[in-house]
């Protein structure tokens, strides 16, 4: 398994968050999540401007064998969605932490989010492999 990017925060639902300089956060799913889902064929994105509470369904990622909800790791307003995913959902497979980002949000209160640092997430992944 490749090394986890150190500048990101992670959730138990295998999502990642990146804090941007303007105060927004970018959200995607982790390499572990994309590998478990397999080749993605479709991503259902929220509407720009949608207001979400932490834990709300934010997006749906669909592979040839499964469809999974992506939950908002933090409450806030959707600023931007990665519309490239409509034609190229496999970007999530090939570059989950980069071109495969899903949503950019203006968070209400990032401290309230249920996230962990890379070490804690690595520990969670290790425990799953046992």
């Amino acid at each position: 398994m490749s090394e986890l990017p150190g500048e990101l925060l992670y959730t138990e639902e295998h999502e990642w968050l990146r804090q941007e300089e303007d105060g927004s956060v970018t959200i995607g799913i982790t390499d572990h999540a994309q590998a478990a889902l397999g080749d993605l064929v479709y991503v259902e994105l929220p509407e720009v401007g949608a207001e979400l509470d932490a834990g709300d369904e934010m997006a749906v990622v669909e592979s040839v064998k499964a469809a999974s909800d992506v939950y908002a790791p933090v409450g806030g307003t959707v600023l931007e969605v990665n519309s490239d995913l409509a034609d190229d959902p496999e970007k999530i497979n090939s570059d989950p932490y980069g071109d495969g980002w899903i949503v950019r949000m203006q968070p209400n209160d990032l401290d309230e989010s249920n996230t962990m640092d890379p070490d804690a997430y690595q520990e969670l992944l290790d425990s799953l492999e046992d």
């Binding site: 064929v41 479709y42 259902e44 509407e47 669909e62 064998k65 499964a66 469809a67 909800d69």
Partner: protein, 459 residues
């Protein structure tokens, strides 16, 4: 594929594996008040001999009447080959195949069916069918709400000519999900949707449903209605008669951008009337909406050796994968009816279906001419018709239908219950199965009945 039920030992082993005491426990999450202990009104089981005797007696009651009722189900000639082939052992199952490795033939039939439905509707994608025309409209309405999230509305407009039974079924199926249906007024002169009423409608609607031909057999101005829907942020749902599509403009070509979803009753395509069922519903849509389409879809693919093959596709929308978040709880199709319809369409071809449509339209036009000669009969709507017309009688419809039935003629569908504003109105249909002698027999019988009534009144 044999169907092998689980033995008691199998059931016990499975329950033990998942740590549950009884099958009953698996349903614990369903609230008590929603559960039904017994089905009231269902009689005791009968033996094979008893049920055969009962069914023979019932089928004798049907007789062989001369049928002029349409109203959603249509008597067409069905080539003998259709059900001869469909009832072969290889096809004879209502079951939808899950296992591509064991059911290539059935899957290919459904794939061909889907291709034919897309050809008829002029749309991109078809599913493997639904239960019937009415439930297909309910599913199309739910699909429109899922697809048109920007409308933030659950208001669905229905043209006046949408089958009233479809409205009832759609409201019953989707009402608990918050959808509400509103009827548009009928233009009583033409028997089509009153366009002026539409212009005044300013409240956001998620979809406009129009039936073409309408329940009255009239032809709606589909280009205008489709463009109105799109200009007002609504999807256009077409309820169509598949036979008519061989001669009318396909929903995909309506207006500037075409209908978004087309659905309807598939029965006219080779399925016998059978006292009301089983029939099948069809549904097609634009490519962009396919992930919101309910039901099964068969796709063409290639196997590991590069040979073409068929398989269920886009299954992540469906209940067995998406559970409660599935697009619909439809998880099957009307496999056997669709097999019959596919064979029917294959045997007739596009030209054959067009001939059926034209002959039916011509028979109805001849019937309209004959009936309008009778004193006490008027034709209600001007303008173009497909294979149904509405006639007005000079007296209540029901007793007249009874008198016709006594002479072995099913005279039509009494509209006065659903459309009291139309007065003593009767919906009449003649398909290609009606000869000139049949039409004249109907004219003579109706003429006699109405003449007799008059004598008694004046005498």
């Amino acid at each position: 594929m044999p169907f092998i039920p689980h033995t008691d030992d199998d059931v016990k082993a499975m329950l033990e594996t998942i740590g549950v005491d009884s099958i009953e426990q698996l349903f614990d999450e369903i609230p008590k008040e929603l559960r039904i202990d017994e089905l009231k009104g269902v009689p005791e089981a009968l033996s094979e001999m008893e049920i055969t005797r009962l069914m023979r007696a019932r089928s004798r009651q049907d007789g062989v009447p001369l049928c002029f009722i349409g109203a959603g189900a249509y008597e067409h000639h069905i080539p003998t080959a259709v059900w001869d082939i469909a009832t072969r052992g290889e096809f004879y199952s209502a079951y939808t195949p899950y296992q591509a490795e064991a059911s290539q033939g059935t899957l290919q039939v459904i794939y061909e069916y889907q291709s034919m439905i897309t050809a008829l509707t002029g749309l991109d994608t078809s599913n493997a069918s639904l239960y019937d025309g009415a439930s297909a409209l309910a599913e199309a309405s739910l699909m429109a709400v899922r697809s048109n999230r920007t409308a933030k509305s659950s208001r669905i407009l229905l043209a006046a000519g949408v089958n009233p039974t479809y409205e009832k079924v759609a409201a019953a199926i989707s009402g608990s999900q918050g959808l509400h249906f509103e009827r548009l007024p009928l233009d009583k002169k033409s028997g089509t949707t009153n366009l002026a009423a539409l212009q005044g409608d300013r409240q956001q609607a998620v979809a406009l449903v129009v039936q073409q031909p309408s329940f009255f057999g009239t032809l709606e101005p589909m280009d205008k209605l489709t463009d109105w829907a799109h200009a007002n942020g609504a999807l256009l749902i077409a309820v169509v008669n598949p036979t008519s599509l061989a001669i009318l403009k396909a929903p995909g070509a309506w207006g500037k951008n075409g209908a978004d979803i087309a659905c309807g009753e598939g029965q006219p395509l080779g399925v016998p009337l059978s006292s009301g069922g089983p029939y099948f519903g069809f549904m097609a849509c634009k490519q962009v909406l396919v992930r919101q389409m309910p039901g099964r879809i068969v796709g063409r693919t290639s196997d590991v050796d590069g040979k073409p093959g068929f398989t269920l596709t886009l299954q992540a929308r469906e209940q067995h994968i998406r559970r409660t978040k599935a697009t619909s709880n439809i998880c099957t199709n009307q496999g056997l009816m669709v097999t019959g319809a596919t064979i029917y369409m294959s045997l007739l071809g596009h030209q054959g279906i067009a001939r059926v449509a034209r002959s039916s339209q011509a028979a109805t036009a001849r019937l309209a001419g004959l009936l309008s000669q009778i004193d006490g009969v008027s034709l209600l709507f001007d303008g173009a018709h497909f294979h149904e017309i509405v006639i007005g009688l000079d007296r209540p419809v029901a007793p007249v239908l009874d008198a016709l039935a006594a002479q072995g003629i099913l005279g039509g569908f009494d509209l006065s219950t659903h459309y009291p504003e139309l007065g003593n109105a009767l919906l009449v249909c003649a398909t290609e199965t009606k000869t000139d002698a049949d039409l004249e027999a109907y004219q003579a019988a109706l003429g006699n009945i109405l003449a007799k009534g008059k004598t008694r009144c004046s005498g």
